[in-house]
């Protein structure tokens, strides 16, 4: 009888531990946020024209290499595009019209506003990949969660 009681007690304790562990894991996964890009390490650091050329040469290969990775891109700012809630920084290959565009993360939005056309900057962000735009007839490569690389 005592053995049965002890077994039941052990099963109850084990069940409680399992339930608490599962809830903790679920809460952790669901409340997880992306790491601040400034604290992330770049997988690649590349000149903007070299990046554009890689995508123009073979965008499916370049997408496999760069998409969803933290990349630092170095180049000249050719445009600052502001809308209601956004300020995007653009680096374009002026001969082909192909470009890389960077959408800044919330906590670094102010940096984008201080950048000027013609500035040479290094921007770190999560590469979303690139595609050929039928509208612009040029390759476009987009980045999200960006920050100035210091």
């Amino acid at each position: 009888m005592r053995i049965i009681k002890r077994s039941i007690k052990q099963i109850v304790i084990a069940s409680i531990i399992i339930v608490v562990a599962v809830i903790t894991v679920i809460l952790f996964v669901f409340n997880q946020k992306f790491t601040d890009t400034t604290k992330e390490k770049s997988v690649y650091s590349i000149n903007v024209l070299d990046l554009i050329n890689e995508f123009k040469k073979n965008d499916s290969l370049a997408n496999k290499k760069y998409a969803e990775k933290i990349i630092t891109v170095i180049g000249l700012v050719t445009e600052i595009e502001t809308a209601d809630t956004t300020t995007n920084i653009k680096m374009a290959d002026t001969t082909s019209g192909s470009y890389v565009i960077f959408a800044f993360q919330q906590q670094n939005k102010h940096e984008a506003k201080n950048i000027k056309k013609g500035d040479k900057v290094a921007i770190k962000g999560s590469c979303s990949g690139g595609a050929y735009s039928e509208i612009l007839e040029a390759e476009f490569i987009t980045f999200k969660r960006c920050a100035l690389s210091k």
Partner: protein, 181 residues
């Protein structure tokens, strides 16, 4: 002399054609598939390419699917995975359509005008016709076009346990906001 006139005429025609098409590379699309069970499936894409023909109201956009930024890493991974959008196979979504009541919109006069938009929306490699109401706001040289509408994910071949379990809505809301300068 004739040659000069011809060149000038050609230059004028080409500049007129060029001026008809306004483009932007910083359009915004918000995607909201949240339910009472799950507030996580929502994202924003701030780098949408878009064009508006100011002569006939033709409107188009292109969005890279991996540009949709979620707050939650797991949700973003699910969204792009082969079970959902399959962004590796179908990297972009596009819209090609027209503002059907474009003649009622005066681009030379500031104001907000209702806009009836109809066209083909391609997501997940599947194209469906979409008709929605939106608005066009003219403010000097800036033309802002907005529209919000819902789509049925099943129409675009997107199904899954999360949808059946009510964690992701079957009809997410799409909000498009594009500013042409």
């Amino acid at each position: 002399m004739k040659k000069t006139i011809l060149i000038l005429a050609l230059a004028l025609v080409s500049s007129t054609i060029f001026a008809q098409k306004k483009t932007t590379t910083s359009g915004t699309i918000n995607f909201d598939a949240t339910t009472t069970l799950d507030p996580l499936p929502k994202a924003e894409n701030k780098t949408v390419v878009a064009a508006l023909d100011t002569k006939n109201g033709a409107i188009a956009f292109e969005a890279i699917m991996k540009s949709f930024s979620f707050a939650n890493p797991m949700m973003q991974e699910h969204f792009n995975s082969s079970k959902w959008i399959d962004s590796d196979k179908f990297p972009t979504s596009t819209f090609k359509g027209t503002i059907t009541n474009f003649s009622a919109i005066n681009l030379k006069k500031d104001g907000t005008y209702p806009a009836d938009v109809t066209g083909d929306l391609t997501i997940h490699g599947i194209t469906k016709s979409v008709t929605t109401k939106g608005s066009v706001t003219v403010n000097g040289k800036v033309i802002a076009a907005t529209a919000d509408f819902t789509i049925k994910v099943a129409d675009y071949g997107i199904t899954g346990q999360a949808i059946e379990a009510g964690k992701v809505t079957k009809e997410p809301k799409i909000i498009v906001a594009i500013e042409f300068k």
